[in-house]
Homo-oligomer: 253 residues x 2
């Protein structure tokens, strides 16, 4: 593939946020900056968080640190905030330093912690970049204390199951096209640049993997804009037609 | 709508299986008769059942009684087997009578039982005919004993979210088309006859409604044919492309 976005080693996590052309596009998004909490799914994500006072938290794919700082400002005693992107962490440290937040550059895949290290693990829209979901969930289960909480958002299986190219059908009657739903694994897309690597998983894989790891699923949310939001952002009417994200909260038994 | 299949009163459950033209088609399906356990999802459904010895069970939408008799022959002490179709119950009583199975003609919507009446509630591919899922799940929760089990299969949200007409796209590159995913409610389809009334619900509605009713979700399965099955039934390759069913087991807290 002739693309500057693809990682030369397909076995290694792709560090797309450090790719200048991608970053130039991504950094224009409202969710990138101070508007992060206005993103469609973020109020729902925050509603899934437990009471944060005194919790030791891990933020997987912290980006520019908005959620990490929110956790610390809401009472978490310690936040380990991890991202693979030096660009994002540079921003996080410059703009969102906090004495309880420790930023660390690493891929989610290479992390190692002692068992029961955290009371809370959060991840906002990062799991679809991780190839080995089963291993990820096994790790998180180990890192959580009994009774600890996992809250994450990820791209919805219906969103990642689209064919290469655009999911929207250009012709009447329109609609959203999916295929090869049960063929899990890498699906690249063009998002600011070509070759952005994401991983499609089925819904059953997303949920059943949690259940098989002693994680009790508490909530499942598919964000959808309400009428007031649609008045302000009519372009989000497309989010009534197919789900883009799924949010899950689970508790370690 | 000019169709003999629609119920004249849209508020009442549609009794499609008593419609002769529908029944003539449906009764030709392998899953209708002795081959019921060969249907794609049935081995997985049976794998979700708890140990049946001594259980009092309710089968919602029992059809010709195959699953009800399986429960009784596997040790259930009592099976209340409910279906709205007189035609199906006639067959069930004629071909699958069992001293522990009580067949009853009723719609799922009109049922009433005392609290904690059952240890197990099962339903095979009937919930997508029920308009009010929230009420259904509230009722089932009440009817179950604490620790009791619900096992059901239903049409997958991706399957019910197709536009009117065929989900498969006729032209290259093909695929499965969905739209208006978040518009829940009635979607009619042509299945042997026109106007077969089913209800689309989102995945979050399917699962989160259970969680909000003190039902702990234990397993979520999307059936897919394995290689051996595909060798015998190459036409089932379409089930790799989009999910048709979802199976869920939940336990009452």
């Amino acid at each position: 593939m002739a693309t500057g976005a693809c990682n030369p080693n397909p076995e290694e996590p792709q560090n797309i946020y450090d790719q200048p052309e991608f970053f130039a596009g991504y950094s224009q998004m409202e969710r990138f900056g101070h508007g992060w909490s206005k993103a469609l799914e973020q109020p729902l994500f925050l509603s899934l968080l437990p009471s944060l006072a005194g919790l030791r938290a891990l933020d997987l794919g912290c980006g520019a640190g908005q959620l990490s700082v929110h956790l610390a400002e809401s009472g978490a005693s310690e936040v380990v905030a991890v991202d693979v992107s030096a660009t994002m962490l540079h921003l996080a440290r410059a703009e969102r330093g906090h004495p309880c937040v420790q930023y660390r550059q690493a891929s989610i895949e290479e992390l190692a912690f002692e068992p029961a290290r955290f009371d809370l693990v959060v991840s906002s829209l990062a799991f679809h970049y991780v190839a080995d979901y089963a291993r990820l969930i096994r790790n998180i289960t180990t890192w959580l204390t009994p009774g600890g909480t996992l809250v994450f958002s990820t791209e919805h299986p219906i969103y990642t199951a689209r064919l290469p190219g655009e999911g929207w059908l250009p012709e009447e009657p329109g609609g959203w096209r999916i295929d090869n739903y049960f063929v899990e694994g890498e699906r690249t897309e063009t998002w600011f640049v070509s070759g952005v690597r994401k991983y499609h998983r089925t819904l059953a894989t997303l949920i059943d993997t949690l259940l098989r790891n002693d994680l009790r699923v508490d909530r499942v949310i598919e964000p959808v804009p309400d009428a007031a939001r649609l008045r302000d952002r009519p372009q989000e009417a497309e989010h009534l037609r197919r789900p883009m994200f799924i949010l899950i909260r689970a508790t370690r038994a």
